[in-house]
Symmetry: C2
Subunit: 557 residues, 2 copies
């Protein structure tokens, strides 16, 4: 019944770096994967060839699309899948003492060299029920991949989709910064969020670790604490500042700022009184440290009466020395109104002091933003150029989980189905292929799932696309372009060509392009049209015969 | 202006293990912490002694309490805080090229040996505005702790609170299992969730890595995939099963199960027809693997017509051999109804086949449970003994983030305040102490915050507790017991006694005890009474004088 410990010397596993988070190991798993693995082994079934699909049932955020992400981490995981002695020791201690030793020998030998993974390319727009990954191999090994794969795909896809939705509302012209690290669900939530928000179309992150790990552009200036750490400009000891071109040195930049503040106060246009001296000192200090990158947070005390005038004084002093200030950040209050007021002041300054371009100063906003507030800002009109988005983005406040599942669809060439009284939870059996069919206008029209060995849909040939569960829902399609969705990212022992894992930048580009390619009515926020997912006639008929076969016949009493 | 690189040879840092997640390093930080650190250094301010408070503004989940968690990870982080050469190299590349070399020398030398951390004991019940941690030390170093600390405390406290709320609704007598790994926000979200749900009162987790790391009890049996991986009992090759006491061996357990299924079918009580053979095979196999721990998932096909009768057949066969089956799990459908039906069948079986205790078979339920569904189940009446809770628990669906902040309250002995048009966002200045005052009945009455050097409240002495911002809200209290909340968990160079970090088990015990000690009206789900947080009269007056001083005077136009 039980095999000898496998020799793993046939290992053809290519070198792929390990998971980003070293805590992603085979033990990052639900216990029942190990109890099942033991039960398979005990029954002599552990080597049976099984096919599992990983898919989700419902698009998140009330939308009609999802972006697939997390594949790279899944492949890193299986490429390095190996239980250590320490792991095996722990599992042995955890399982009942009646478990036989041979199983632990078996665990010692397993890796993923016999596992084959097909997947949709990371960064693709995807839809419910269509397998994102198809994983096949010895049932007792593939079973151990369920929890880590679902963990690695669920949040990745969710937050990438969330980022894409924020980008959609903000529009292409705005700069989007991910500022979520401190509110993310744990350290890894933060790092994952930064990676996947970038993938979904954000421009940069504040998260230094993510910048280092993934090469994502970094952004950040200063906080309220920096402002309130200063008392007054008198405490600034080091006052000289070289001009931009290095030709001269202003020996007292603090006095220069002061003189500009007085000019602003004298100019009737702004009607500025006394500004906060702690804030003025902080801005002046920050400019001395970063004369080329002066961006100031202007709402520690009062935006219009203190923050913006103080900013303008420092910016004008920098300007006199040949520098160009970067802009302001607003982190509270009515962002539409305040950004408008700030813009007015910048334009007045441009006019009053004849500083070309001052009116176009960048305004960044960053206070509890989400899709709804971005949309409300768009409706009201605003002057914000850059949005820094944190909590709602990275925690996916509007929908905190994507319900990916991992279902057995075939074992020993026998198709398997999971029934449920809830039809949306019935799984689609068989090892399958799937295709995206494109229409004349270049938009994707429908995804169709077929059995593994059915002929593929052909360009120009009419094909009947059927709803997987509702008989009356079907439509003929004549595709202008056919794209097979599942590609081989981990060939296992199959000898197939292995698809290269694209770089993060390439995945991001793909994601942005795919989103642009969708028909706009699928993408809109309000009442979007569902994108259709279908099965071939042959698969439809097969599903329903299997279903009838497995479901018990009720008895009305 | 700039110091020589610090010599760190005075390092008195005690040995504390590193953060659970090795990705928690000084680079797990917002970029602006480094830009500010540079600006402090450039201004010669970096050594100024600063005091920061970490606190939150609002209890989560619409409740009136929060459980503080994450302290242990914060202390592990600072105890091992050190930038590597590689880190410094990356920061140098990231900051503008104009930044001076001396800063990177400075970074090379810093650690947290000059930082002092006071905190509330982990696992305590806590309230808005009361500092959870008070961190003091050189401003440029403490600034670098903001993001990691807030990240480590935010989700930890949120999910611990969520677990405590689930326990509150489920009641003490139920077993609560955390099943959230696959839906958690990333790998670390999963591991953190398991740790903190246990802290908040859960009994066990499915997460093997968390079991190994933290010694949390593990639970898990099998999934739908296991059931559907079998076709029929005919495929079971290895059929013998030893009796519990080892005295005899049943040579064909499959036939024994079959005979019990026939007895059940013949007994009129259950009106059972043909059950699903794939399911029967899976249960039989699982029992052969785990005869002492037979717990079966009974809803792959049909709970009442297939799953429960199949379970009973296997359980009765086990019973005949002296084993005791562990129970069933329901993962879909109407859990109140199905658990009731299952209980009825178990009781009928007990009576019909005279198996004492069979009616008390454990029923576990695990389908998208949350506080609301637990409450609805309680109202309807149900027969569930154990709840397995995942998605809603670990992602904190009902409130995906706790808004912890980290505010500068004093620098160079000068109190600092952060103003806001939103009064709830105004910070409480000064280095402070805080106390919990208990009443006659043993309940906590009010938390009071005072200045660092004020005399502490005394048992039996009347003290005026004032709302920090609303003049008219105040009350006299005569405490029967006074508990100082902030304890020294990291003495830095202060020479103070360092509070030991309690074990996870001790923190969990503290949490459960503290929750039980609260007055019930603060804890109830519907319209809970807010627990009062107050300041001393002296602190109240100080806040308001500083506020007036810092706020600009408006001008109505």
């Amino acid at each position: 019944m039980k095999d000898k410990p496998e020799s793993n010397s046939h290992s053809k596993v290519p070198a792929v770096p390990g998971p980003t988070n070293p805590m992603v190991t085979p033990l990052l798993n639900d216990l029942y994967q190990f109890t099942m693995s033991y039960a398979y082994w005990r029954a002599g079934k552990h080597q049976e060839h099984a096919v599992f699909d990983l898919y989700f049932r419902k698009n998140p955020f009330g939308g009609e699309y999802t972006v697939f992400a997390g594949l790279d981490e899944c492949i890193r995981f299986i490429a390095n899948f190996k239980l250590t002695e320490d792991d095996i020791c722990f599992i042995r201690k955890t399982l009942p003492p009646s478990c036989e030793d041979g199983f632990f020998e078996y665990l010692r030998g397993i890796d993923c060299s016999d596992v084959e993974v097909h997947a949709i390319t990371e960064g693709s727009v995807v839809f419910p029920k269509v397998p994102l990954l198809r994983i096949e191999g010895p049932v007792a090994v593939v079973q151990l991949l369920e929890t880590p794969f679902v963990n690695l795909v669920n949040y990745a896809s969710l937050v990438t989709t969330n980022a894409a939705r924020h980008r959609f509302v903000a529009g292409k012209s705005k700069l989007l910064l991910e500022f979520g690290l401190r509110r993310a669900q744990g350290p890894d939530g933060g790092i994952g969020a930064s990676k996947y928000c970038y993938m979904g179309g954000f421009d940069a992150t504040s998260n230094v670790a993510a910048g280092k790990l993934f090469g994502i552009p970094l952004r950040g200036t200063h906080s309220h604490a920096f402002v309130s750490s200063f008392m007054s400009p008198e405490e600034i000891v080091h006052k000289p500042l070289c001009s931009f071109d290095g030709s001269t040195t202003c020996e007292d930049f603090v006095a220069l700022v002061q003189s500009w503040l007085e000019k602003i106060q004298r100019s009737k246009l702004l009607s500025v009184g006394d500004t906060n001296q702690s804030e003025l000192a902080a801005f002046t200090s920050y400019a001395l440290a970063f004369p080329n990158d002066f961006l100031a947070l202007v709402d520690t005390y009062d935006v219009a009466r203190s923050g913006v005038p103080n900013f303008c004084a420092v910016a004008l002093a920098l300007h006199e020395l040949g520098y160009k200030a970067a802009g302001i950040r607003l982190d509270s209050g009515d962002l539409a109104y305040l950004s408008g007021e700030a813009r007015k002041i910048f334009c007045q300054v441009e006019k009053e002091f004849k500083v070309a371009g001052f009116g176009k100063m960048t305004i960044t906003a960053s206070n509890d933003l989400n899709e709804e507030t971005l949309e409300a800002l768009n409706k009201q009109g605003h002057e914000v150029d850059t949005f820094g988005i944190g909590t709602y983005l990275v925690t996916c406040y509007a929908q905190a989980a994507l319900g990916c599942v991992f279902k057995l669809v075939e074992i020993k060439n026998q198709p398997r189905i999971k029934l449920s009284e809830d039809v949306s939870k019935v799984s689609i059996p068989c090892k399958k292929r799937s295709y995206r069919l494109y229409g004349k206008e270049g938009y994707p029209l429908v995804d169709i799932i077929t059995g593994e060995n059915e002929p593929s849909p052909k360009v120009g040939e009419r094909i009947l696309c059927r709803h997987p569960f509702i008989e009356s829902k079907r439509a003929y399609v004549v595709p202008q372009h056919v794209e097979e969705l599942l590609k081989c990212y981990w060939p296992g022992a199959s000898g197939k060509q292995r698809e290269e894992l694209p770089s993060l930048g390439d995945i991001r580009d793909r994601c942005i392009k795919q989103l642009e390619q969708m028909r706009p009515d699928h993408m809109r926020k309000l009442n979007p049209t569902p994108y259709k997912v279908s099965v071939s006639t042959r698969l439809y008929e097969f599903i329903h015969s299997l279903w009838l076969n497995e479901a018990p016949v009720g008895e009305l009493q």
